[in-house]
């Protein structure tokens, strides 16, 4: 009897992984994450359970409650009222507008030596929500990696993956995607893709660096709390707005650049920006914004 139960259970889980269901686990993870964050930020009344160490007065005065779905696109400004005021002020004249223009120029007028251009690699610029993609034989391809692949395959030199032209071009892609109302649309449609996702997830939950902190410590349990004066943004909806103009950088930067900063916060030696580690991590991260509108570029402290 027991054996049959186990057998059916096994069968059950196998059929779960049947054709077309490779994203079943990821869907479940995303749903659970969204529910957790919406509960966490639902009301002042339950805040004591989720924010045991945050001063009560701060919970009373500086937090916005009742957050849902797309609200999370704002990162920590979704709940931090003071931060949101400053954000609104800076946004009156968004500092990334020049970057978007520069990116448009690069997209429309860069001619490679062989006569081709970015339009040959990316006929439609409204693609910010489509990346990363899992490509058989290549693994996870982030937008950053795709842009450099385009350059290299046309015998051009690859660009710096943190800032500069590459970030500008991504800003243009993001801004067109946003204008057209595109959503983050990450696809997991093979066993290998599901494995890459699981690898990224494992990285996210693993304690690393000499401080033994995981990304989840700060952006899941820690979301909404502060590391010194910095409010921690929730994983849900966290990366739909890249590239980001950071006041701390006085510059526009890619998601890879931002993650490198967090690795340093953890006391971790950093990974290469096009390593499998980084690409799989970004695959997982971006899936956790799936279905939300592309919101980039944006500004952050």
């Amino acid at each position: 009897m027991r054996k049959t139960v186990i057998a059916t259970l096994l069968l059950g889980s196998i059929s779960l992984l049947g054709a077309g269901d490779f994203d079943a686990q990821a869907k479940k993870d995303l749903k659970a994450l969204k529910e957790y964050m919406e509960k966490k930020f639902a009301s002042r009344k339950d805040a004591g359970t989720y924010f045991p160490y945050t001063p009560k007065e701060e919970l009373d005065k500086n937090y916005k409650w009742g957050l849902k779905g797309e609200d999370f696109l704002l990162g920590s400004y979704a709940f931090n009222k003071n931060g949101k005021e400053q954000y609104d002020e800076v946004n009156e004249m968004p500092p990334y507008e020049d970057n978007v223009d520069a990116g448009k120029e690069l997209y429309e007028n860069t001619k490679f030596k062989n006569g081709k251009s970015f339009k040959d690699c990316f006929p439609d610029p409204a693609i910010a929500g489509e990346y990363p993609k899992f490509v058989k034989g290549k693994g996870v391809v982030t937008l950053t990696v795709a842009i450099n692949e385009c350059l290299v395959s046309n015998k051009e030199k690859p660009w710096n993956m943190e800032k500069g032209k590459l970030a500008d071009l991504e800003a243009y892609f993001a801004s067109v995607s946003k204008e057209k109302g595109k959503k983050v649309h990450i696809v997991i449609d093979s066993k290998e893709a599901a494995e890459a996702y699981e690898h990224g997830k494992k990285i996210y939950y693993t304690q690393r660096g000499y401080l033994k902190l995981s990304c989840a410590n700060c952006h899941i349990q820690g979301a909404g709390k502060r590391v010194r004066n910095e409010y921690l943004s929730p994983l849900y909806g966290q990366v739909a707005h890249f590239p980001v103009y950071r006041l701390a950088w006085e510059d526009l930067g890619t998601l890879e650049r931002r993650i490198k900063g967090c690795e340093k916060n953890q006391g971790e030696t950093t990974h290469k920006l096009d390593s499998k580690w980084m690409r799989d991590l970004i695959y997982f991260l971006t899936y956790m914004s799936n279905g939300l509108h592309v919101a980039g570029p944006d500004i952050r402290k």
């Binding site: 924010f51 160490y53 000499y210 700060c218 820690g222 502060r226 590391v227 010194r228 004066n229 006391g267």
Partner: protein, 113 residues
């Protein structure tokens, strides 16, 4: 005369002891508030102390004067011994802080009411 001398000597050592203990507390305070050292203020406020922008990931520390030194030492050395799911880094076990530095931090923690 002899008595006086002893008294003076005793007073002297008491003073040095007090001085040494004071220095230890100061060193601990510095470790607590320095990013490259303990960086404790990233997560903790401390009752009765002036901390510059303390975080809220960990509890506001209070009543630690009443904790046994060993309990404080263990907490900083490896918080998982008392809380296996702690979000606090194990400063001793990871070698971020030396035995001497943790003792200094403990001396400072003992001054938190």
């Amino acid at each position: 005369m002899k008595k006086l001398l002893i008294a003076a000597l005793l007073a002297g050592t008491a003073a040095t002891f007090a001085q040494a203990a004071d220095d230890l507390v100061k060193e601990g305070e510095k470790i607590f508030n320095t990013k490259k050292l303990g960086n404790c203020f990233a997560c903790h406020d401390a009752n009765g102390k002036k901390i510059n922008g303390p975080g809220s990931l960990g509890p506001k520390l209070q009543g630690l004067a009443l904790w046994p030194e060993k309990a404080l030492y263990d907490k900083v050395y490896d918080p998982y011994t008392t809380n296996p799911v702690s979000a606090m880094p194990p400063f001793g076990k990871n070698g971020v802080l030396s035995d001497k530095q943790i003792k200094a931090v403990v001396a400072y923690l003992k001054t938190i009411k």
